[in-house]
Symmetry: C3
């Protein structure tokens, strides 16, 4: 439930410039087209300036460059989107569960708990684990043996950490996350597969967030590493020995195969696949559903995938897709035929002689 704050207090808390009625009361934040008289909304840049005239919002967060285009209450901010996020946090304050250990939690005798931890109902913490100060483990979490969980982490209900996992400060794990399951490593034998013991671990830096039901496998040897500030969405697979650089974000359902190395500040959209052992440079953006099977050495935007269209059109195109090499050869043949023909015509004695 949102609280109520005056524009003045929002301006002060966000360090922005108020223009209009400081005592105006804001009850909620809302998208521009839905915002009413008690709501605050925002516009990021001039691209959306046409919406200003029709806005019914009680107040807007605007860049200074748009201040003259709007007569109503506003907060002027060099980064309206950031200010909006801050305002949401102010209007909808969250509170941490109270420190303490639920009676139904099961902690090994030698577990080390920092000050102010919250251990929820039915949590299990195995032998040798260390839980940092101020960390919250909600109901049903399992923290394996010898894990080192940093301070001020927040594990939502039913998170699982296998043995030896390490997290930095302020890590957020959503429900169903599994860190440290075995990587997929087997030696092919005539009689089947021989399992390669996966003896490494998973290490998360500070300020990492991992979405619901995402899995990060432990390294075969050494560590699978998510750098500081890495953000993973839901249902992502991170294979063993993957290294993800600081502040890289990955959207839902993307699969990153074993031993991939991804740079810093990358943005990888949803449902991508990145094949094993590839290296991706810093500042690379990969758009949705891309299939990455080669290393990416330069910053930039990379893409693949076939956009959906009417089924009748696709059916025909899909057939042609399988004949693409043949089509190429047919075009080549045409080019050769035409090339052979043209010089002949140029030298055509009958025509030449007639001109």
């Amino acid at each position: 439930m949102a609280g109520v704050l005056t524009l003045q207090s929002l301006a002060v808390a966000t360090g922005t410039t108020l223009r209009g009625e400081g005592g105006y009361e804001i009850y909620a934040a809302a998208p521009l087209e839905q915002a009413g008289a008690t709501d605050i909304s925002f516009i990021r840049d001039r691209k959306y300036v046409r919406y200003l005239a029709d806005s019914a919002a009680g107040a807007l967060i605007l860049p200074p460059s748009l201040a003259d285009e709007y007569a109503g209450n506003c907060l002027l901010s060099p980064d309206p989107y950031l200010t909006y996020a801050q305002v949401v946090g102010l209007l909808y304050p969250s509170s941490l569960p109270a420190p303490g250990i639920a009676a139904s939690a099961v902690l090994a005798d030698d577990v080390v708990l920092g000050e102010g931890v919250h251990i929820g109902p039915r949590v299990v913490v195995e032998s040798g684990a260390v839980i940092g100060a101020g960390t919250v483990l909600k109901a049903g979490c399992v923290v394996g043996a010898d894990c080192q969980v940093g301070p001020d982490n927040y594990f939502h209900a039913n998170v699982t950490l296998a043995a030896d996992t390490r997290t930095g400060a302020r890590v957020i794990l959503h429900s169903g996350v599994v860190l440290g399951a075995d990587g997929f490593g087997f030696v092919p034998q005539p009689t089947g597969w021989y399992k390669i013991p996966q003896v490494g671990n998973v290490v998360l830096g500070d300020d990492v967030e991992v979405g619901a039901n995402t899995t990060v496998d432990r390294a075969a040897m050494g560590s699978t590493v998510l750098g500081n500030g890495v953000k993973l969405d839901n249902l992502i697979q991170i294979g063993h020995n993957v290294q993800i650089g600081e502040h890289t974000a990955v959207a839902a359902c993307t699969a990153i195969a074993g031993s991939v190395s991804i740079g810093r500040h990358c943005r990888i959209a949803g449902t991508c696949s990145i094949a094993g052992h590839l290296s991706i440079a810093d500042h690379v953006t990969i758009t949705g559903n891309s299939m990455v099977i080669n290393a990416i050495k330069e910053p930039g935007v990379y893409s693949s995938g076939m956009p959906a269209e009417a089924n009748a059109v696709w059916r025909k195109n899909a057939v042609r897709l399988r004949q693409l090499e043949k089509l190429n050869q047919r075009v080549k043949a045409l080019e050769q035929q035409l090339a052979a023909q043209l010089p002949m015509q140029t030298a055509n004695p009958c025509c030449d002689s007639d001109s």
Copy 2:
């Protein structure tokens, strides 16, 4: 384990017309090609009529239009597939676990429980939650603070609902489902990502079913909504603020990005991806593995994707795929060359003069 029922009782229970021995005992249901003398099977329409002659089934469910083509015991039904589903339910009756609260469950003091609820072992229900009458929460489920779970829901083991989630009547959630985890929302900053508080919730209508390990994110603000009768398969990602219309079904491993709006009675196959903020009309079918990056405004069937083929063929085609624009330009050049050539020939003076 299946029970035993006579054909007569099956006819009465399903409201179909019996033809043959009413006292014939049916022990199980089975696909047509596997069905033996004690089994019942079905044929949906004339397309499969050739299988009738060889059927060893004790009885068949048939549309009336096929009644004359089969001499054995049968139930005549205008919708044989529906009747088959009903018969399976009759032969394999399921029973709900007995009402009651397991001793190992952990319920906050202010939780409100409807009549006849079953709260399984190790369930956790947080403060302010309401559980509707007749609802079953199997072992290990966690229901967050202030959730409102409707009547006659069935949550299989290890389901997680984050705070404020609401479900209608007769909702079925399979194991590992996570409703209400934070949406993936961050403001890019030079130093990394600033988290946008996700202060909305998830709302499910009546008769919704959600498959194992599927995740439905809470809205950034407002609600992520699955309408009445929506059916989701396993390992699906539903982003924040998605709206799915009534009776739409989505198959496994499909990813629907934030703020997508999907109409009613749609059928979305498995491993599709739908990009953020798109709108999909009612009665749209999207075939498997499609990549939807544009709004779909008309009912119909939509598709994309490249069917697998022999690797040697694919390798060549994949190279040509990356040269498609070039190939197009080569064809254009050929067309221009040929167009330039043809009129010239038509007007060829030497030939003209010779004719």
Copy 3:
């Protein structure tokens, strides 16, 4: 933590031939480029022979054919990769948790436990279940009614088995696995979807391993079957009534739709999709991200997918993809034009007469 073993003891334990200092102490295993003086590493074949000269490893595992190319300590093995896996197991020995039943576990009265089982904290085992000798159920696992779990299984924390699931010997399930959730089966009705009761189960053979958060649905009727030695990676979906043959391996995020039948010794890479009811032969390899929509009847390697490229290039190619059938028709028209033109020229009277 790795132990310390002499080369001599490693040679004896792996049945390989030692060449060099038997008393040399090995502390760890490492990839060739990272291995130092206390590490052992390996080379599989001649392809990597150029790395031998620069290796700083304390010892190497080599095929006999490379023995003459390396002067240092080595173990000669006909299968260096297998020997490496064995050596890792020797250097990093894992120990099973001690037999016993945690006080916080909840077991139905009629559960049958084999000798030496380990039942971890907060485990739930429902009525009628049987747990084989030597099996380990880590914290938070739920084993449904009437399940039959084989001997020497290892279920990591928070695994869920729905009722009637059966596993063979030495099965490993990673955290978040769900076996036996309902298959996705509904009869379309004008008013929505009518659920088809899913009354079958899931059966796993011996030596099956299933990765984190993977889901295997129970059969609509009969059994969904993973044969002996099948290995599944993380976040895989196996639909109802799928049959997977012995020793087939499937990598992460692949979706296998209902009633698919896959042969023995197949290798299916990650993020593939296999459409419903298809049959895949033995010894088939499917490369990453492939979309299989037709049966595969012959062993071999199959592929599809569009590799990622620079976004600017893809944008143009994606447009051309939708025009592929048209491009084909344009090429056909060119071919016809040219074919029509050539005979005419051959018979060109003016030129002929001039020659």
